[in-house]
């Protein structure tokens, strides 16, 4: 496996795979996201040396693969069909919320803001790395992050407005 041994590759997979899948889900359906993550790790295995910032490198590869997959019409239709099934992006959330609601809240954010939040919170990237990924300035990355967090906070703290049926 080049200069990257199976142990290191396994450790990197354990550390980043789930977050990378969540990151890829911003653009494509579950199976395509998993394919993107798989391809990213295979590409990493083919590298002659471990990239300097391996998390940022993996995010970049996954991002390119996910965007490429999302551009395919066939896959887009499949993604829409799967999205309608409401697959949760999280396996567990806090006790105040269920996984589907968390997924819906996150999915309602704008793509740019959502990408920054996912890469920052679950991917563990720095704002500098995120700005390079998105091809924007550091200030823009900060602004998107804070804007997305504010929206999420507002929606999480919003009281339940479901009308109760009274007789």
């Amino acid at each position: 496996m080049g200069s990257i041994g199976p142990e290191l590759l396994g450790r990197l997979f354990d550390a980043h795979a789930a977050a990378l899948r969540l990151y890829a889900r911003q653009w494509c359906a579950g199976s395509d996201a998993e394919d993107a993550v798989q391809e990213a790790f295979l590409s990493l295995a083919r590298q002659s040396a471990v990239p300097g910032q391996v998390a940022a490198w993996l995010h970049r590869v996954v991002r390119n693969a996910a965007i490429s997959a999302a551009r395919s019409r066939h896959r887009r239709l499949k993604r829409e069909a799967r999205a309608s099934s409401g697959e949760a992006w999280f396996s567990s959330v806090d006790d105040q919320l269920d996984a589907r609601s968390a997924t819906r809240l996150l999915a309602e954010l704008e793509l740019d803001c959502r990408e920054v939040i996912v890469a920052r919170l679950w991917g563990g990237l720095t704002f500098d790395q995120i700005a390079r990924l998105q091809g924007c300035s550091l200030t823009t990355a900060h602004r998107r992050y804070h804007h997305g967090l504010a929206q999420l906070h507002e929606r999480l703290e919003r009281p339940c407005s479901t009308p109760t049926k009274t007789t």
């Binding site: 080049g2 590759l9 899948r21 996201a33 998993e34 295979l42 999280f90 396996s91 679950w122």
Partner: protein
């Protein structure tokens, strides 16, 4: 409105961080297996590619050396042929020197020309003027005799004057 600069930003971030992304259908062992298989395939392809380069290089060297030997043989054969031809060729003629004997021979040849021959006629025409067909210089001897036989040139020469053309 949520203010990210306030202290509860970190607590809210921590709450979000506690959400665990779903691994979905990702399989660690499958990934490692695929990586190993890709590495083996890559090694085989790289070996084939390296052998191909070696074969191509050896073929190019052989072709170049063969062409060089053929060129050398052809060149040496050509040189040998040139030397053979040079040996068989007759010696170049000595340059002509205008000796008195040669001049006398040439004058005798010119004097021996029949005055009614074509060569005498050409030599006569060389001495005529192109415009009025009058002789510029009077040639001695034979030329005077030829001119005496010419018809009178009172009328201009016409295309249908076959007799005059022939007797010219």
């Amino acid at each position: 409105m949520f203010n990210p600069d306030e202290d509860h930003l970190s607590s809210f971030e921590e709450r979000l961080r506690s959400w665990v992304p779903s691994p979905g259908g990702l399989d660690r062992d499958r990934m490692l297996f695929e990586a190993g298989r890709a590495e083996v395939q890559g090694t085989i392809e790289a070996g084939t590619r390296a052998n191909l380069w070696k074969f191509a290089t050896a073929a190019a060297v052989l072709l170049a050396s063969g062409l060089g030997m053929a060129w050398h043989n052809e060149r040496s054969q050509r040189r040998a042929l040139e030397l053979t031809f040079a040996r068989l060729a007759p010696p170049p003629p000595a340059p002509l020197v205008a000796t008195p004997e040669l001049i006398a021979q040439r004058q005798e040849k010119e004097a021996a020309i029949d005055p009614t021959s074509y060569l005498a006629l050409v030599q006569q025409l060389k001495h005529l003027d192109a415009t009025n067909l009058e002789p510029q210089r009077t040639a001695p001897g034979t030329v005077q005799r030829v001119r005496a036989a010419d018809p009178p040139r009172t009328a201009p020469l016409r295309p249908r004057d076959w007799d005059r053309v022939i007797t010219l």
